[in-house]
Amino acid sequence: MREEKNYWQALNLALDMAMAEDSSVFILGEDVGLYGGTYRVTEGLYAKYGEERVRDTPISENSFTGLGVGAAMVGMRPVVEIMTINFALLALDAIINMAAKIPFMSGGQYTIPLVVRMPGGVAKQLAAQHSQRLEHTLMNVPGLRIAVPSTPQDAYWQLRQAINSNDPIIFLEHELLYFTKGILDSSIEPLPIHRAQVRRKGKHLTIISYSRHVLLCLQAAEQLAKQGIDAEVIDLRSLKPIDWDTCAQSLQHTHRLLVVEEDCQFAGSGAEIVTHLTERCFFELDEAPIRVAGRDIPTPFNAQLEAASIPQVADIIAAAQRFRYPS
C-alpha cells in the first residue's frame, strides 16, 4: 500500500495491523476506546477488537502504565497511551523504576515489550502544564529507548517496530504533527527503528533535529539555499540510542554543526548531541557548534510569547548565518 496519510492515520494503521497480527498486543489509556483517542489515533479499534484489547482506563497514569509493565513481563505487548506527555510525570515511577530497570535487575530474566505513546510538545496555547517536552528527562534513563517520528511513514513503521521490540520504548508524538500529511508505503523494507535519516543533502552545514522541528529545519534550509548556504538536514528519528555514525559522516563534509531542539536548552538533548559529536569529530569541525533550543522557561500562554519561547524558522536561519562560510 502506498498512499497519502495523516500522521494520526499512520499510527492508527500501525496499531490496527499489529493487533490483527498478534493477539498479545493490546492498547490501554484514557479515552482510547469508545471515544477513539483524543487525537483519533485509536479510532475504530474499540469496535474492531473489543474493550479488553482496547481498554479505557481511569485517570490513574502511574498504575495503568505499571499495569502495562506487569502484562509485558508475562509476554503481552501492551501499547500504553498517556494522553499527553505532561501526565507522564505521574507515571515516571512505572517508566523509570519499573519498565527500564526490571530487565536489568532481574539479571535478564524478564523482558519488557512495552510501548508508551506520549503526545507532547508545544501545540497551540495549551499553557505551561500542557506544553512540555520531557526528552531530556527520559534520555537520561538507562534501559529506555526513545523514538521520535516526524513523518507519517516513520510514525507507521517505527510504531510497528516498537511494538515488535522486546524493550520498553517511549514513543514521542508531537501534537502539531497529527494532521500533517505524507506518503505512507507499508510495503517497503523500513529503516532500522533508531537509524537517523538525511532529509536534505547539503555541503555547508549539518542541521540535526528531530520530531516536528525537522520540518522547520527543512523550511529554513530552503530559504538558506536562496542565500547560497547549502544545509544538510538530519532527522534523528530516535533519541535513544542516537545514530552517531550518520551524524559524523555528515560532519566530514560540512564541518559545521547546528542542533535544533524544541526542548529547553539547559542539559537538553542538544547538549548531549553537541558534546558527543564535538568529542568525536573535533578535528572535522571548522567552528564551535551552535544550539538553537527552547528558552529555559515554562511555556507562556500568550501566543506571541509562546512562539518566542521555542525555535522558529527565522531563528534557525539566523543561527545558520552566524557561521563563516568560504566565499
Binding site: 493490546f26 479488553e52 484489547r53 481498554r55 482506563t57 481511569p58 490513574s60 502511574n62 498504575s63 495503568f64 502504565t65 505499571g66 499495569l67 502495562g68 509493565v69 506487569g70 502484562a71 509485558a72 513481563m73 508475562v74 509476554g75 503481552m76 501492551p78 515511577d93 512505572a94 523504576n97 519499573m98 526490571i102 530487565p103 536489568f104 535487575m105 532481574s106 539479571g107 535478564g108 530474566q109 524478564y110 523482558t111 519488557i112 538507562p142 534501559g143 529507548r145 521490540s165 522486546n166 524493550d167 532500522p192 527503528i193 533508531h194 537509524r195 537517523a196 530516535s238 540510542p241 545514530d243 555514525d245
Partner: protein
C-alpha cells in the same frame, strides 16, 4: 490438616528463620552491605500464603522478600549468593536483597519503591484475564503501602475489570518507625477495600494454619473467576525495619506481646523456645514457629526427633548456601552490560 503439610510448613518456617538470622550474621560480619530487611516474626504469612499457591500462580512482592522466594522454591544458595551480590545469585548479582526475581517460578520480583507491587500485579492479572487462564496473582504489600496512590488506583482497576488478584496485606503495624495509628486514619486495612467493592477480611497472621486454609479458599475462588480479594494478615516483625534500624521506637511490652505468638512458636513451642538462637528473640519468648510446633506436637504429628532432624538439615542447607555465596565469583562490568542489552541483541537498532 495433613501431617505432611504441617511438616512442610514448619520446615519452611524454620528455614525462613534460619536463613534470615544467618543473613543478619553474614551482614554483621561485613560479608555484604546495602539494605537488608529481615522477616523474623512474619513467617506464617509468606509460608501460609505461598503454600496455598499453585506453580501456575504468580507472586509479586516487596523488598522484604527473601522468605517469599525461599518458600516459593528458589534455592537458598541462589538467594544467599544474590544477597552477596555474586554471579551465581538468582539475578546474577544485579538485583540484590530487595530485587529477587525468579521467572521460572513465576516470582515476579521484589520491588523497593513502596506501592509498586499493585500495578505489576494487576498487569499480570490483566494478562491472565485476556488469556482466560485459571491462574491467580498474589500481591504482597505492607500496611505502610496502603497510603500510596497506586493502592487506590490499582484496586479500583482490579475491581472494575474483575482481575484475578489476591491482595495480601502484611500488616506488621509499622511503616519503618511510624506506627499504624500515626500513618493511617483507618487502621483496619481490610475496610478500605470496601471503597472499591472488593471483598476483604482480616485474620491472625501469626497462625500459619489459618493463613493457609484461608488463602487456599480465596485462591480457588479467584482462579474460577471470583474477582479480586483483599486479605489482611496481622503480624509483627521482631527486628527493626532493616539492619540499619535497631527498632528502639517500639515499646518492649508491644514487642513482647507479639513474640509470645510468634508463628513459629505457634508451631514449635515447648521444645524450641530459643530457636534459632539469636539472643534478641530468645529474650522475648515463643513465636509463630513455637505455635505451630506446639500444635503439631499436641496433635501427635511431630516428635522431638523429627524436629531435631529438621533443624539439623536446615542448618546444613544454610551453611551450604553461605559457602556457595562466598565462593561464587564477582560479576564483571561486561556481564552487567550483557544482561542490560539482552533484548537488543535480537534486533538491528541502527
Amino acid at each position: 490438616m495433613e501431617r505432611e503439610q504441617i511438616h512442610k510448613m514448619l520446615r519452611d518456617m524454620l528455614r525462613a528463620r534460619a536463613f534470615e538470622e544467618r543473613a543478619a550474621e553474614e551482614y554483621s560480619k561485613g560479608n555484604f552491605t546495602g539494605f537488608l530487611h529481615l522477616y523474623p516474626g512474619e513467617e506464617a504469612v509468606a509460608v501460609g500464603v505461598i503454600h496455598a499457591a499453585e506453580p501456575s500462580d504468580y507472586i509479586v512482592t516487596t523488598y522484604r522478600e527473601h522468605v517469599h522466594a525461599l518458600v516459593r522454591g528458589t534455592p537458598s544458595k541462589a538467594i544467599m549468593a544474590e544477597l552477596f551480590g555474586r554471579r551465581d545469585g538468582v539475578c546474577k548479582g544485579m538485583g540484590g536483597s530487595m530485587h529477587l526475581f525468579d521467572a521460572e517460578r513465576r516470582f515476579m520480583g521484589g520491588y523497593a519503591i513502596v506501592g509498586e507491587t499493585y500495578p505489576i500485579a494487576i498487569g499480570v492479572g490483566y494478562a491472565v484475564m485476556l488469556r482466560k487462564l485459571p491462574e491467580a496473582v498474589i500481591c504482597f504489600f505492607g500496611d505502610g503501602a496502603v497510603n500510596q496512590g497506586t493502592f487506590h488506583e490499582s484496586l479500583n482497576m482490579a475491581a472494575l475489570w474483575r482481575l484475578p488478584v489476591l491482595f495480601v496485606c502484611e500488616n506488621n503495624h509499622y511503616q519503618i518507625g511510624t506506627e499504624i495509628h500515626r500513618h493511617s486514619a483507618v487502621t483496619d486495612v481490610y475496610k478500605r477495600a470496601a471503597a472499591y467493592n472488593i471483598p476483604a477480611e482480616k485474620i491472625n497472621g501469626m497462625d500459619v494454619l489459618t493463613v493457609n486454609r484461608t488463602t487456599q479458599r480465596l485462591l480457588k475462588q479467584i482462579r474460577s473467576g471470583g474477582g479480586p480479594y483483599l486479605l489482611e494478615l496481622e503480624t509483627y516483625r521482631f527486628r527493626g525495619h532493616s539492619m540499619a534500624d535497631p527498632g528502639t521506637y517500639r515499646p518492649a511490652v508491644e514487642v513482647h506481646s507479639f513474640t509470645t505468638q510468634d508463628p513459629i512458636s505457634i508451631a514449635a513451642h515447648e521444645i524450641e523456645l530459643n530457636y534459632p538462637t539469636t539472643d534478641q528473640i530468645a529474650e522475648v519468648g515463643p513465636d509463630c514457629i513455637t505455635l505451630l510446633t506446639q500444635h503439631a506436637q499436641e496433635k501427635g504429628q511431630l516428635i522431638e526427633q523429627e524436629l531435631a532432624l529438621m533443624k539439623d538439615d536446615i542448618a546444613k542447607e544454610i551453611d551450604a548456601a553461605v559457602d556457595f555465596a562466598l565462593q561464587s565469583p564477582q560479576p564483571t562490568l561486561e556481564e552487567c552490560l550483557d544482561d542490560f542489552n539482552i533484548n537488543q541483541r535480537t534486533e538491528i537498532l541502527i
